[in-house]
Symmetry: C2
Subunit: 214 residues, 2 copies
Amino acid sequence: MKVLRLPTIKRLPTYLHILKRFEKDGNEYVSTTALINELDFKPILVRKDLVLLGLPGKPRLGYKLKDLISAIEVYLGWNKTDEAFLIGAGSLGQALMGHKPFEENGLRIIAGFDADPAKAGHTIHGKKIFPMDKLPELIKRMGVKVAIITVPWQEAQSVADILVEAGIWGIWNFSMVKLKTPPHVVCHNENLSSGLAVFSVRLRKMYQQTSNNL
Amino acid sequence: MKVLRLPTIKRLPTYLHILKRFEKDGNEYVSTTALINELDFKPILVRKDLVLLGLPGKPRLGYKLKDLISAIEVYLGWNKTDEAFLIGAGSLGQALMGHKPFEENGLRIIAGFDADPAKAGHTIHGKKIFPMDKLPELIKRMGVKVAIITVPWQEAQSVADILVEAGIWGIWNFSMVKLKTPPHVVCHNENLSSGLAVFSVRLRKMYQQTSNNL
């Protein structure tokens, strides 16, 4: 398989979701057109993305669903599951702990950690919350390699230091702070407000257009 | 101000967050270098983005913080606040209702709606949950123009139909289904697993590299 570009990678989960729906409905093949009809991406992009996955399509039938799903899952590493700890069980952290698609998509959050002693011992979405001082020991004992940071930005770097010291390899960082981590640690920054920014700009343009037409 | 490209728009909330932090710390000016030091974006991109905002910088001092913050907020429409309804008070919906940065960023969720009668009447993060049959009436009575959909994908289109019929102008759709809406409605699709996909690919490459070195 070729090396895919970032925008293609970002579209893969959407394809996967729809392809799995088609499979559940009892289909064996999927045509590019059928997939495009379910998407708001430009058809030319979808066609290119599918070609990049490198699978042979059958004339008139399209792609074999099972093979297409498997190709995407293998590329993303979602054919196996990583176990992750989540640090910061506030409202965002709790939501991620209960977000079922992550489990289907190769990431299983197995426990949460929080600085608030009142939260320790509780169970959120079936997962136990531990106090922060248990974090290094449990990372080592359970061999967990992936962590999700949903603490306030002021605390993010000190949490990252603990994670790296204890042997974490990958950090999914929701804290809005650039973390200093050694080169062997994959640190991926997420900003939930990026989507809101694009939505806001589109809304603002629509408002202006509408008031110009009045 | 020029028309900004999508990647630039997505970076604006991150700039804004850091600039506001600088302002709280009592700074009056910010240099491009100081901003770049707080970011994991390529310096050349940050420099280009700032130039596109069209503000004059002062030699050696940099940009006036207040002006830069205001330019970004005006571009995004975050200088005023839209009131929004949220439909689907599950774990993701509840988290969005409690996600403080949205309030600071021009979007105030004022109430939630859920098909589960057991949730109606409850208050989540200080916001009341109403039953679905109140939705059209409340949209009209309160003049709400923006809605967030966090219902399961099977229900998303019928919810969107109700919203459009009642007069909503903008839908932020977290449901993984392409919604059919008339052209005057801005429908923005969000996929939380896109970030996970990029993180997974980076992790997978790191694992491969590490095991090659063993």
